[in-house]
Symmetry: C2
Subunit: 506 residues, 2 copies
């Protein structure tokens, strides 16, 4: 047996993907499970990603005319009940506030007291409470459109949780808009999906499929749910963003009415759209390897770490002076609108130091020792290349070209992820082949096993349900486009006019 290289993370992806994910969150110091069931603590290295995500997305939203606001955390039960499908969708997993104080119980400890007349639900999403505000803000077509976003925490009492991917509490943004016409609302639904796709591909370096959900997978209360779907390294799909056309459903249940130009009262047309801290999970699962996380530079918590090296005490001052000079020069560089974030790590902890930064996924590691100073150089390693690959580069060249190098890493990561996805996406027309593709036992073609299958679907719920029951495979999205794709349903064999993306998913 060939001796395996020691990896930064144990187990490897191949050995145990799910456990690898847990370990990678841990060794990168991004987040941890909290003592509160299903909730997470996002640590500074992980939260910096969220800060970068919010900064960039917030700017993109505002460029389309959206303004931020803030609505209450609590939703009266009666509000949630206004839209029947909606409450049905969230009733099974919501945190309910029933009391407003604590008092000494008979057995000594504190117990809930001050029972509320009406229970309050901690928002799982805010259509109903924001709809109530919209109903007050809107009276004329002149008040439309209203384009609102809020950055907030939401709670869905999930039974099986996984840090960043599915947690009881998570952070997200939820956009809510109201329009005078159906067309305006539909256009906005598409526009925001496009914003998400652009953001995710250009900043997180995650390629996505855009499309719409089947009726069974729609947001509770929506007429149409658009989504972007990405492929993780275990070939499962992750839904990373959704944009909902809500028709007049919530306008009717919340009373969002306006007088049109002919002074006739109409219900408004509304949309909602959101992405969450799940993006961070997707980012990690797309790019990381068996040595740790790999962060795309545009979104990285920090861009570069300088690692001064000195064996002898007398070298210290000289090396630190050179290091600080490099750091100061780098901190003046602007990369996609922000100054480079530069770490200087002068801890005396040996080889563990470099490995910590590999695990954290920082794009560039720069070693600086006495010999580098003599040659006016720095010794550079890129996180998107092998751990051992390092190059001596003239200091002036490194500083001058660092933003180009970061862009190159960004592009590389996207290209690699795209290549992986495309290699694992195939068109399957035969039912038997489809079942083999998604069955663990099929080891004939391991290299193309279990990714995305583009296959015909007749459009019937029964076929969708049977495939889900048989294989735990769902329709991830129905790609956009009016063209008819003749074929036979992969489940029932009946005439089909559309091919859709099937996959297992998170």
């Amino acid at each position: 047996m060939a001796k395996q290289r020691q990896t930064g993370v144990k187990p490897t992806r191949e050995e145990d993907y799910a456990e690898w994910y847990q370990q990678i969150i841990k060794v990168s110091d991004m987040a941890e499970r909290s003592p509160v069931r299903g909730c997470m603590v996002i640590k500074p290295w992980g939260f910096a990603l969220w800060e970068n995500i919010t900064r960039i997305l917030d700017g993109m939203f505002k460029d389309t005319g959206v303004k931020n606001a803030y609505f209450p955390l609590f939703i009266p039960l009666s509000f949630l009940e206004k839209e029947a499908e909606h409450v049905e969708g969230f009733a099974k997993e919501c945190a309910v506030v029933t009391h407003h104080r604590l008092e000494q119980g008979a057995e000594g400890g504190l117990v809930p007291a001050g029972k509320l007349n009406e229970p309050l639900v901690v928002r799982p999403t805010s259509e109903t409470i924001i709809g109530d505000s919209f109903s007050k803000w809107i009276s004329s077509y002149r008040d439309l459109p209203i384009l609102i976003n809020q950055w907030a925490n939401v709670v869905r009492w999930e039974m099986r949780t996984r840090v960043f991917l599915r947690t009881s509490e998570f952070l997200w943004q939820e956009g809510h808009t109201a329009h005078a016409t159906k067309k305006d609302a539909v256009d906005r639904t598409v526009q925001m999906l496009d914003v998400y796709a652009k953001f995710v591909e250009e900043n997180l370096a995650i390629p996505v499929y855009k499309g719409r959900k089947s009726a069974a997978e729609r947001f509770p209360g929506a007429l149409d749910t658009l989504c972007i779907e990405a492929m993780m390294q275990d070939k499962k799909a992750l839904q990373v963003g959704t944009s909902h056309f809500l028709g007049q459903n919530f306008a009717k249940s919340s009373g969002i009415k306006f007088q049109n130009e002919r002074e006739v009262e109409e219900f408004a047309w509304t949309t909602s759209w959101g992405v969450s801290t799940r993006l961070i999970g997707g980012l990690i699962m797309t790019h990381s390897d068996d040595d740790g996380v790999i962060l795309p530079p545009k979104i990285a918590s920090s861009h570069v770490v300088l690692l001064p090296i000195f064996r002898k005490g007398e070298d210290r001052d000289r090396v630190m002076a050179y290091t600080n000079e490099v750091a100061a020069a780098l901190r003046e560089k602007v990369y996609h609108g922000v100054k480079l974030v530069v770490e200087v790590d002068d801890r005396d902890i040996g080889g563990a130091r470099g490995w910590e930064w590999i695990k954290k996924g920082i794009p560039l590691r720069v070693e600086i020792g006495p010999r580098d100073i003599e040659s006016n150089s720095v010794f550079v390693a890129r996180r998107d290349q092998s751990v051992k690959e390092k190059a001596s580069i003239k200091k002036i060249k490194f500083i001058g070209e660092i933003t180009k190098v970061l862009d190159d890493i960004q592009d590389n990561l996207f290209a690699k992820a795209l290549d992986f996805r495309d290699k694992n996406t195939i068109e399957i027309d035969e039912t038997e082949e489809f079942y083999k593709f998604f069955t663990a036992e099929n080891q004939e073609k391991p290299e193309i096993h279990g990714g995305f299958s583009i296959s015909s679907w007749c459009g019937r719920d029964e076929c969708e349900a049977k495939i889900k029951d048989d294989l735990a495979v769902t329709i991830r999205c129905i790609p956009f486009g009016d063209e008819i794709q003749e074929g036979k349903c992969i489940c029932c064999g009946q005439e089909s006019r559309k091919k859709v993306v099937f996959a297992k998913s998170y």
Copy 2:
């Protein structure tokens, strides 16, 4: 009777200050009460203030080495109970989650189901849950200090609420730090109070007194609470920021221990510090007048509004072209690190248009009509001056000097607020005079009635309590400084060595 000028807000401050405040929130379109008891909806014009506050403060925190993170919304009851004074302080006003789903009740509607084994409290503050994380993160003196901040929503079930000033849910930041020595923790407590004071004075243009709270007014569980206190236009005090030295109380209750350099285990020393959306209430109550809000330019939601004026249709294109040209030039200007936010309001709604912007408090209003174009000018009104005061200024001069003008408005607002506070702050040594000063019936010197009184206090709880009972006046802060100020306690007449700030407060 002289005819009174019509004001933008009714009632005026003098007629009914509390109702004036409600009205001013409404007419400025900043926020509204929500259907959820005690919670508010922050509308875009109000939320933009919070975005500016968070942007500037966040940068100031990071400059001192603080990093952001995120901790769970829910706190297990057992965590809150760990620190006796702490839970005592918050038990009477907390939202308690007792169930995790809803199901069909016997009478038809949904009812809470899935009772939790342990109730969860919606965080009123996060010392206990963050302390739990710190206990895991810290093992050696090398791990210290830890400097963490989170931007979050918190809930305190207040019985009497007022938008921005006191609401059941509010937005805030809470900093939490752990240190190896008492001195480090005390220094950090002072440092963050200084950050707050600098931020509030320089950006919100609100002058503040810095000092420490008396024992009775301390944060539950703290050894020392430092605060900044501002004077509102009704001469009442508003506490706008606090910084707490927690000693080893929370370290002991949460088990935050570390090995010191001599390998001896010690408890860490912790601090916490916060400001909230209350700052917006303070901002409004400090600067606004009977015509509406007045926003300090450094924090304003928008800096300038352009109001094109055209009576005849044929003027429209010409006026709009000129207006858009001015807008484009202004939007390139950078004011304290951000590009100017420029509104163009071309609605055809007559005089109501200008008044809307006056009420909203935008620093500069610029009218542009055909005559202004002919003279290459704009017609400018400053919100810190009388509503009728407007000046024709050459366009090129206006654009060139706008940031100076904004700074001048900023300085004016601070100077005016400082003057008001200082005029209404007096040293009182006589008990009778003190009682008269704070008694509504005393109309002898209305111009100096009921502001801040700097008076001697012996340091005893009884005297503090008596004054609170008699007058609803509290010790707002004990100013910093070691110097002894000999005097006689304003309450009991006994020897006193310190003068403190007394006032009524929000």
